[in-house]
Symmetry: C2
Subunit: 544 residues, 2 copies
């Protein structure tokens, strides 16, 4: 029996109709490259987004064409998010931290035909433009200095008339955005999001038990709009009417703290390295008796994801500064949110230590995301102890990569996506990420979690950063090695660090050796580049 519900398509334009009808007066703030603040409303943003859509149409952009961006987080990038979607084209955010060779491959593979680029990033663009199909480059914040052959973003928007433009009425299964993975092995792979995926992701993330974003919130995404849709926050804010604050290129702790305080931000989101920098600065200020330098009393949640946040960091924010960190986990293939670490009622009644331990996990699946984990003997039990590769399916999970033949290895026969993350799942459905599959350490036939060791090392007062990688071993095949960056002015010996770990792990998990380095190499999205560490330290195996 068929139901008799209206045919109502779940599209980004449907989100934006709501923004315009209900939230036109809500603020959008962004920091310019010159550090001044640009301030307007969703209503003004949407008018300009519509003009951009009209201008793109005039440049020959048709439905389904790819329009790339190469921009920091700012209001013109937001206009591009909305305007490209409204035009019926596909928004393709390019990651400005990638190597030009990768950017060339990605822009060409995606078939980008138009590029919107920050003036400050033009030199980067020049390094790969010849290797793409891009016909038009549109320059943001040119301030009169428009490179030859390029379009001035401001002029295009000023000259367009949003009223003379018939907006696309896409099908919910049409593509609305693309993003490429930044795997450390193999070619980047393209993920193509449907309107429906973005809408359902936004709805689920806006649930009270997920991010709980409301019209009363002021949201600052530190996470880049140039990767994984800034965790979907631009769309979530447009749906809920939350104010949006964008930091531009200024991601240092002082700049962020200033913005968090001045704009009375309530929700912010970033990777662990960003928050570690902020925590260090807040501790330093407190040590100088200036704990009140920034008023963060409005800040109710700091979302952290992209990598595991050490428990010591979560504790430090809560105990020393009264700030709540909320863990989430996701992937480019998941738009990107997969799990959120909101405390279950049962855990809320436990003592603080148990709560902190829970908060260091990655949480439970968002609504309409389903999880399971597979070990050598099939699906693993939800016992919080047995490791397996996490598999997911759900309403916004990729079902294939764009023009790729890598699909076979990443999807199961029954249609689940293999995440490549090694996890345990507890009885409540909470995942704890133990490792990337490719970073796993298998010693004497047993798995060792590098993530757990790293989180514990990060809790030592002298440690700034720590990565644990496998090195070859004649007897055990692989053994863990810790690579550590000490805080400036602090000292610690290898023995002290191992002793710090010893109470918390089986003896055979403890690294055989600690290598002290000045810096740990990172990927374009701030994760440890462990392949480089393994290469560098492959001869260091031995018994401590």
């Amino acid at each position: 029996m068929r139901a008799l519900t209206m045919d109502y398509q779940l599209t980004v334009p449907a989100i934006l109709r709501r923004t315009e009808a209900l939230y036109a007066s809500k603020p959008v703030v962004s920091r310019r490259a010159d550090r001044t603040l640009h301030r307007y409303t969703y209503g003004e943003c949407l008018t300009r987004a519509k003009r951009l859509a009209a201008a793109l149409r005039r440049l020959g952009v048709g439905p389904g064409d790819r329009v790339a961006t190469l921009c920091w987080n700012h209001h013109q990038h937001l206009e591009a998010y909305f305007g490209v979607c409204l035009s019926g084209a596909v928004l393709h955010t390019l990651n400005l931290r990638l190597h030009p060779d990768d950017l060339a491959y990605i822009a060409r593979h995606a078939g980008d035909s138009v590029l919107i680029v920050d003036r400050s990033l033009w030199p980067l663009w020049e390094k790969f433009r010849e290797r793409t199909w891009v016909r038009h480059a549109i320059v943001v914040d040119a301030a009169g200095d428009v490179p030859e052959g390029a379009h001035d973003y401001e002029r295009l928007v000023a000259d367009a008339d949003e009223r003379a433009f018939a907006f696309a009425e896409p099908d919910e299964d049409d593509a609305v955005a693309m993003c490429y993975t930044t795997g450390t092995t193999g070619r980047p792979k393209g993920v193509v999001y449907s309107h429906r995926a973005i809408v359902l992701h936004s709805l689920a993330c806006a649930m009270a038990d997920a991010f709980g974003v409301t019209e009363r919130d002021s949201v600052l995404p530190v996470v880049p709009m140039f990767h994984a849709n800034a965790w979907g926050l631009p769309f979530i804010c447009a749906l809920t009417g939350a104010g949006l604050v964008m930091p531009g290129p200024h991601l240092d702790p002082r700049s962020l703290l200033e913005l968090l305080a001045a704009e009375r931000v309530t929700v912010t989101a970033g990777v662990p390295t960003i928050w570690l920098g902020i925590l260090y600065t807040l501790d330093e200020l407190a040590g100088q008796g200036r704990a009140d330098a920034y008023d963060l009393s409005r800040l109710r949640v700091m979302l952290v994801g992209g990598a595991a946040a050490p428990e010591s960091m979560i504790r430090g924010f809560q105990e020393r500064h009264g700030l709540a960190v909320l863990h989430a986990w996701g992937m480019t293939e998941m738009a990107p949110v997969g799990t959120v670490g909101t405390l279950p009622s049962e855990v809320l009644s436990q003592p603080p230590d148990a709560q902190f331990a829970y908060r260091a996990r990655q949480g439970r699946p968002a609504a309409f995301v389903e999880i399971r984990a597979r070990g050598g003997d099939g699906l693993v039990p939800w016992d919080g102890a047995t490791m397996g590769e996490l598999e997911v399916r759900g309403a916004w999970v990729a079902g294939a990569y764009y023009e790729s033949d890598d699909d076979v290895s990443r999807f199961t026969d029954d249609g689940w996506f293999r995440t490549g993350d090694i996890v345990t799942i507890d009885q409540r459905g909470t995942i704890t990420v133990q490792d990337r599959a490719k970073d796993l350490i298998k010693s004497g036939g047993e798995w060792i979690s590098s993530v757990a060791l790293e989180s514990a090392l990060a809790g030592h007062p002298a440690v700034a950063e720590a990565a644990v990688v496998s090195v070859p071993h004649p007897e055990w095949l692989e053994r863990p090695l810790a690579v550590v960056v000490l805080k400036s002015g602090r000292t610690a010996t290898a023995d002290e660090l191992i002793a710090h770990l010893a109470p918390h792990f089986p003896k055979w998990w403890l690294p055989d050796e600690v290598a002290f380095v000045d810096a740990i190499p990172k990927t374009s999205v701030g994760k440890y580049l462990k392949s480089a560490l393994r290469e560098r330290f492959r001869e260091r195996a031995g018994v401590r």
Copy 2:
């Protein structure tokens, strides 16, 4: 360009897979007819629901077949909600307050083939069973007294094996539930909900800015599960893992207060008459120095809908008892939630009087519900003053009635649903329901809002209930007449009541006459039956 997102169907079984995986240990409490409490978990509920599904299949129920319920709010009704959905059949809730003739029409029109009925309601069932197509009646809470020819619910569930049963994997556009409207004019009309409609309604209602239900909540729906899906709360709770408390047939204020306190309820929902009774009881207790008789400190929101709640009631709860009432508006045709009265940030910064005035309105549209209002000259401006008939479209709005030829008049040419409610819409998109279209009073060519007059009359200390209806008038065609029930032991004259209204309305809005009565007739869902009042008072026109 098509997106590459997984095909993931938005179905009630997908909600229930989540409930089982994450929330199996959360509590479900319900009050039996004998006032004792039944207590178990979602896990146990789902096991029984699956057995019910298996039992239905054995009785010959196939995909799309209609299974009716005639039950109060209790755990077996919840099992039927879930079990019928899991079996692939369509859940059809019958309103036990309807006349047997209407029930006969509805059950026959829907083609119900199986009925699940409370033992206490068997006498009602006997009054119309012969006029339906129902082949099997299943009796709940029979306690050994199973009428001849009927099945015992407990035995059916006990005998079934949930493991031997292949669950339906419906398409999201398949029908999952039906409900008939209870209009006071014309035949009841059937609304057929899709899985997708229930899922999207649940997601949007769980948003932090809507009902904001979380896993930490304990939810008591006073609104009946036999009409409009108890505002979707059974599905919303299953999705979010909130505990569920059901009152059975005991809806008197003392029984409800006892349950709200004992089960530490955080969210409850009901029609204004229910809350007026509760407020009266709380005031009475406070007057006796027993304000602490029931500990309601956990109760964070009392949802009210189904009719306009008077501002005086909202104020009374907040100012005298610290309890927050949240207005919502909806219709059977909307699954049922359309708007929610959460305060916008802008209003939160206004003085209490402005906030109370806002809270007496019906609120702003839920996500993926769109609104507009049409007057004599086309769509009306969003100025908070111009009245028009509310039209809606959205992701869970009915697109047609079940086997009805009444569709033409209720849907616009461009596919919006005409609600029959006369509203104003303010600049923020907040609706204020002024009247049902058929109850409108048009005096001298201008509309008068009976709802506004009724809410103001309800604020007079002597008034228990007030309805305002139109009566014919030789000069103005129609004039308003107030029908008032006084509180026991209180007095007020017509002149006093008119004087109470005078400061708040144009002079020509004031009723010409006040009729004092013992009771106002109501519909099966507790709304004033104004057609009966108009009939009774049609000769009372005149100049005061």
